[in-house]
């Protein structure tokens, strides 16, 4: 009875939302029928990828990247801070020690052999995604998460595997500091935080878009090492260091 009432409530709310959204008088256009020519996003598209301009504003082929890293770079720094605080919270709250948790189910042979093949491929794809973040879809966050998932696979397959926590901490700290230093250079020399001061180059090349690929590589390294640290902290126990 309780489930029936819950389902009825959900469907009623869904019906009202959809009937209001797709009303003929509403301002919300139907999917695929929005006219983009008069909106502000068209202006950003023209500024970025117009090849007749002598200097395209950010020069990255992927417009989402230039929005995320150039126009809203400060937001991305805030997201990194949120991730850093959550990683720190996991490390502080869990009783993190040296001893590794051993699973009840032993990893079998197929898992071990498969992981040995697939980990390298996942690592390479992750690195590719954040190096080419300004050319193809993807970027720092998915690339870093891919690196962390390969670390996770190593943990699942190998009972004795333990990552080098110190190296990841150093990598995370260095890349975070470098992002802020690059932003401060822009602030003091060019009057805006994270200003894209390198030459933007030709659209579509690997070395283009100025500061964007460098920032994305740093973000990817930071996210990857942070998520790997979280996974490592989840799987250790024992109070004494």
């Amino acid at each position: 009875m309780k489930k029936f009432v819950a389902a009825l409530l959900t469907f009623t709310v869904a019906f009202f939302i959809f009937s209001l959204l797709y009303d003929s008088q509403s301002f919300f256009p139907k999917y695929g029928e929005k006219d983009l020519n008069n909106t502000i996003s068209q202006r950003y598209l023209e500024k970025n990828t117009d090849e007749t301009r002598p200097y395209p504003e950010s020069g990255s082929a992927n417009i989402v990247t230039s929005v995320v890293v150039n126009y809203r770079g400060f937001d991305t720094l805030g997201e990194l801070t949120v991730l850093f605080i959550s990683a720190m919270g996991v490390a502080l709250l869990l009783n993190v020690g040296k001893e590794r948790i051993v699973f009840r189910v032993k990893p079998n042979f197929i898992l071990k052999a498969g992981v040995r093949i697939i980990t390298g491929i996942i690592l390479i794809v992750g690195i590719y995604i954040f190096v080419h973040g300004h050319l193809t879809p993807g970027g720092g966050f998915p690339g870093g998460a891919m690196i962390a998932s390969s670390v996770l696979l190593m943990y699942i397959s190998d009972d004795k595997f333990k990552e080098k926590m110190k190296a990841f901490n150093v990598l995370e700290g260095t890349s975070g500091v470098l992002v802020i230093v690059l932003g401060l250079i822009g602030l003091f020399a060019f009057n805006s935080f994270l200003y894209n001061f390198l030459p933007s180059g030709e659209i579509g090349h690997l070395f283009s878009a100025g500061l964007t690929p460098i920032l994305y590589v740093l973000i990817g390294l930071k996210v990857g090492s942070e998520l790997s640290n979280i996974i490592g902290n989840f799987l250790t126990q024992g109070g004494e260091e």
């Binding site: 989402v64 879809p137 998932s149 989840f234």
Partner: protein, 81 residues
Amino acid sequence: MIETIGVIIGFIMILFALMAIESKKLLNSIIFLSMTSLLSVVEFIIMKAPDVAITQAVIGSGLMTSLFVFTLMTMKKSGEK
């Protein structure tokens, strides 16, 4: 044509989400949840948002699923020593 496929996938997603809530075994529940986010990747691609699709594929159906499975492997049943 492509909108019809999107609507069908949406209904299958609702079905999988209900099954994830209702299933008795925790492992089945995790797999149904993973199926839901995998289908949402297809939906994002239909809506022409490949960036979001990649992020959803990696985090939603890759990392979260393995973390859930992982936690389930370390957990013990109540009463078991």
